[in-house]
């Protein structure tokens, strides 16, 4: 008979082995926070251990998969000579410009689209047509039109995320409960004020989520744009590294994009918590 063992850390720890097994195998049941953190760390330990195992055992040639410390060494040397920051900055700059320009237009326009049927009727046919076109197919066109400068990469990002943002923001604006708007009317809100007084704050948590998700997509489109035409950026150094069989550089670039993505994601979560403290 397993019996509960009281623990200084709290009630959650009093579970016996058997009931802990039951806890983790019960759908939707929350697990102790310490356990959640442990397994979150475990996944990276496994990935990195697997990486070590594959490279040190010789199962995969170093030409295809570099040793972990080789990637770290490359990162350190590129950081030392400054080229790392230069490329990282170039990428971050393009992503931010593309993302901000797109969002500044997509948020208000999406809210209008979700609120006013006339705007929706006007934009829907066009937006839904463009939305399904693969962005990559436009890259040659963009190069022809705007060359291979930063504008081209920004254009690819905007084209990749703008229409998606528009549709998702319009959707969340449409789902604002009618009686919330009605209540606002009976309290003296005028029709013209509805979009920014009621619809915007009501959808703000959703809008923040849309921005967070599309920020991730912006990184994807950035690399696409940089692989095709660029002279700097993390995608560009990957492509250059491939030509010189520098797999360690490719891995470093991938890792950096992942880390940057992780950081921006956390920033968005933080901003959402500050801007929309009522919605958790």
């Amino acid at each position: 008979m397993p019996k509960p063992v009281p623990d200084a850390a709290g009630v959650e720890k009093t579970v016996s082995d058997q009931s802990l097994f039951k806890t983790v195998t019960t759908p939707f049941r929350t697990i102790p926070k310490s356990l959640a953190i442990s397994v979150s760390i475990l996944v990276w330990v496994l990935v990195i251990a697997g990486w070590f195992a594959l490279t040190y055992s010789g199962a995969v040639k170093e030409m295809f998969l570099p040793k972990p410390e080789a990637v770290l060494a490359t990162m350190a040397s590129m950081a030392a000579d400054g080229s790392l920051w230069e490329h990282m900055l170039a990428s971050v700059q393009v992503v931010l410009i593309g993302f901000i320009v797109s969002s500044i237009v997509a948020v208000p326009l999406g809210l209008m689209m979700g609120t006013y049927r006339i705007v929706q009727a006007f934009l829907d046919p066009l937006v839904n047509f463009i939305r399904y076109l693969p962005v990559t197919s436009f890259v040659p066109l963009f190069i022809l039109w705007i060359g291979i400068g930063i504008e081209q990469r920004v254009a690819v990002i905007i084209f990749g995320i703008f229409f998606q943002q528009l549709v998702m923001i319009a959707d969340s604006a449409r789902s604002v409960p009618r009686d919330l708007v009605n209540a606002a009317y009976t309290l003296g809100t005028r029709r013209i004020e509805t979009v920014f007084h009621i619809v915007l704050p009501a959808t703000l948590p959703n809008v923040m989520d849309v921005l967070r998700v599309t920020m991730g997509w912006a990184w994807t489109y950035l690399v696409v744009a940089e692989l095709v035409a660029a002279r700097s950026g993390l995608g560009y150094i990957s492509l250059k590294a491939m030509r010189g069989f520098q797999v360690d550089v490719i891995f470093m670039a991938i890792a950096l994009i992942g880390i940057l993505g992780l950081v921006t994601d956390q920033i968005f979560r933080l901003v959402r918590r500050v801007l929309a403290p009522w919605a958790h």
Partner: protein, 266 residues
């Protein structure tokens, strides 16, 4: 505080509804929701509409609020004919309609703020009405942190803080459990006796109707029309105990019969 006249001389108006028709859709598929409704709610009166679901009683409330457009007829509140929604007609809805991004106090403050009241005056209003509904301690909570009954109490405070001429209530306690419901009814009666706003209250609960009303308007459905108006002469203040009294039971039976006949008709 005294400059506000919070309870001494609140604004209050009568409601005149004259041959109001509401039809949804056009041609063959048109549905007649309200068929020539006429009645009058006195200034300071607590009037309750009861009727089966789908009889158009909520629609009538939305028409008075100006949230929907009537097909025909006229609606007048005080000396103004209703053409659009406005802060002179406060409304408490069936669902929860507090602004989730505002705290309890900010929700109550919303109407006075739109009217351009200075901050000090707004604070007095918020304090007064939150005290009135017993939620002073929750001023800085967000609606998501409140129970259903508390949300509706804030909604009542928010509507009253705007000092409307009439208060429209669309089954505001319909989603609450019976315990909470009773305490809300008690609270509403107390608040109403303090403010003496004209109240038009919609419900399908006959007990609730008789307990609250000066007058019960019984509606029948499809198309919605008025069956009968019944004056409730039970003296105030009333408590839940009146449900045992013969006059209450007689009235309840009469309303039940009116609604039952309605079932037989269709």
């Amino acid at each position: 505080m005294s400059a506000l006249n919070l309870s001494n001389d609140p604004r209050s108006s009568d409601i005149a509804i004259d041959k109001v028709v509401l039809r949804y859709g056009k041609g063959e598929s048109a549905v007649l929701a309200l068929n020539g409704i006429s009645f009058h709610v006195e200034r300071n009166e607590f009037c309750v509409i009861v009727g089966p679901s789908g009889c158009g009683k909520s629609s009538l409330l939305y028409l008075i609020a100006g949230l929907e457009d009537r097909t025909d007829g006229t609606i007048r509140v005080g000396d103004k004919t209703v053409t659009e929604p406005g802060p002179d007609r406060g409304m408490v809805f069936q669902g929860y309609t507090l602004f989730p991004w505002l705290t309890v106090a900010q929700n109550v403050e919303y109407g006075p703020k739109r009217k351009g009241f200075p901050a000090g005056e707004r604070k007095d209003i918020v304090d007064h009405y939150l005290a009135e509904v017993g939620l002073s301690k929750f001023a800085n909570h967000y609606p998501s942190q409140l129970s259903g009954g508390m949300k509706q109490r804030v909604a009542i405070a928010r509507a009253l803080a705007n000092d409307p001429e009439v208060l429209l209530m669309d089954e505001p306690f319909g989603a609450l459990d019976s315990q909470t419901r009773h305490s809300m009814q008690k609270l509403l009666l107390r608040v109403w006796e303090n403010t003496k706003k004209t109240v038009l209250f919609v419900t399908h609960d006959i007990d609730e109707a008789i307990l609250l009303a000066d007058r019960v308007v019984v509606m029948s459905g499809r198309p919605g029309q008025i069956k009968k108006e019944i004056r409730v002469d039970i003296p105030r203040p009333r408590t839940m105990d009146i449900v045992m009294e013969p006059s209450f039971i007689a009235m309840k039976r009469e309303i039940l019969d009116l609604l039952k006949n309605d079932d037989d008709d269709h």
